[in-house]
Amino acid sequence: MSKKVLIKIILGLLVIVTFIYLLNFFKIGDFLKNTAISNLIIFWILFDFSYIFYRASLLFLNKRRIYSSERPLVSILIPAYNEEICIEKTLNSCLFQTYPNFEIIVINDGSVDKTLEVVDSFIKKQDYYIQNKKINFVVIDKPNQGKAVALNSGKDKANGDFLVTIDADSHLSSHAVEKIMNYFTSEDIGAVAGNVVAIYKDSILGYLQKIEYEMGIYFIRASQSFFGNVLVTPGALSAYRKSAIKNFEEGTLTEDFDSSVRILEKGYKIIMAPDAICYTQVPLGVSDLIKQRIRWQEGSLEVFSKHSFHRKSFLVSLEWFFLLLFGFYPLMVKFVSLFALPLFLISGDYLNLLHLILLFLSYSVFSYFILFSIVAYYSHDKKSLLAVPLYVIYFNTVVLYSVLVAQILIFKGKNQTWGKIKRYHI
């Protein structure tokens, strides 16, 4: 560990200690010092920050510098359902990759718009380039059966030993395939997750999602990558060793999560390529965003329930445990706490209610500020720190609501289907 890193860790710890000291110094009334809630808040600080410290340490240690120089055939799979607005840009970004050896397979999953016509006209327009570069460009047209079935149809037609999957509403940077393939340095690496950047189009909601994506990538996945335990390979950009993936899991809402977990269960490693960049559209309307989050949450609960409590490697089990402890459990605590708020109102205990809300908000802002600082260091987006208060509101409304709905739906056995999110020109 370099001196610089050590200094940052020490500074981080100093900030935590100062915060705890300040809580006592200002005595946020003697209320804080004397009530049970203060002890609980300090418990949560220690509980959360030890986790942040663990992740941050792995993050700083994760400096993978060995790259593969092999250039095997790669099959780029693009499943598309009603993507007439954005698929041309996607295809364009795939065709003009710096990687020398690839084929493109577009799977039209029963689109009812002009997706197929757009793809056909693109092939005609770029025919000279495709022929000249000898790129195998395949279009599969099949009835609508969902993304996983579409990916499996593409996989069956693929000639390459490696598959790169991308969403039809996303586009790649010109080096993305080359960069992601650099990470297949040994036979035990089964998949590599790409870096997904959200296009937010000057929308605040979009910007908050961009930060959320960055947090998932730079904080969670990059640290999981240290041990090769990345739990989710994003649908927007991921690369798979064909022999590691039997099939993309059909009938689930998050086929990317399900498939990556199966790869880990086979004993392969999954790592992350932060320099393989893919730009993706995110929902800019609240309704679309909630629908997307409900699907993600439902899918995650489904995958967690199906695959956890299995005997795996210690480190994979540890990641599952973290997912339970820091992913799902705090949300349940928030539910119960939020439901308890009306009780304070009914009982007329307004002072305690006010203190509770203030403590909760200040604690949330503080912990997110630490998280955002780590992420801003990697993403070079320091202005994101200003968005912390907004993020706290976003997380405790949109995300919490989606989690509640997902749970209600799972208990009812009423699965949400793949909804269509409004697309826009980029």
């Binding site: 199906k306 409590f309 349940m332 605590v333 439901f339 009812k412």
Partner: protein, 109 residues
């Protein structure tokens, strides 16, 4: 929020809130008649049991209530009580996943 932006599944959520309200009244009354009464634990029980009235799930949730209730008898003060409530939510979360796991296994069969 835009003109056409409706909050999805709002009816389901409101129905869930109603269940929480009714259950908290009924269960608080019923459990207070026994020697196992703890208002906060009853409230946690209500939030979870309002999700589903499946017999297996209810058994798990009640089991969690009983374990947490016995733990409260060994407490030293308010702060440890709050930690036990946190533990109770954790236990319920684990039981919820055990229930989901059985549900998916049955579905797969």
């Amino acid at each position: 929020m835009g003109k056409n932006q409706k909050i999805p599944y709002l009816k389901d959520v409101l129905f869930y809130f109603c269940k929480v309200a009714i259950l908290s009244l009924v269960l608080s009354y019923l459990v207070s008649k026994t020697s196992f009464y703890n208002q906060s634990l009853v409230f946690i029980l209500v939030v979870f049991s309002a999700f589903s009235f499946n017999v297996f799930f209810i058994i798990l949730i009640i089991l969690s209530y009983i374990i947490s209730f016995y733990l409260t008898t060994f407490t030293l003060g308010d702060s440890s009580l709050l930690l036990i409530y946190s533990f109770s939510i954790f236990l319920n979360t684990i039981f919820m996943f055990i229930y989901f796991k059985f549900k998916y296994k049955l579905k797969e069969k």
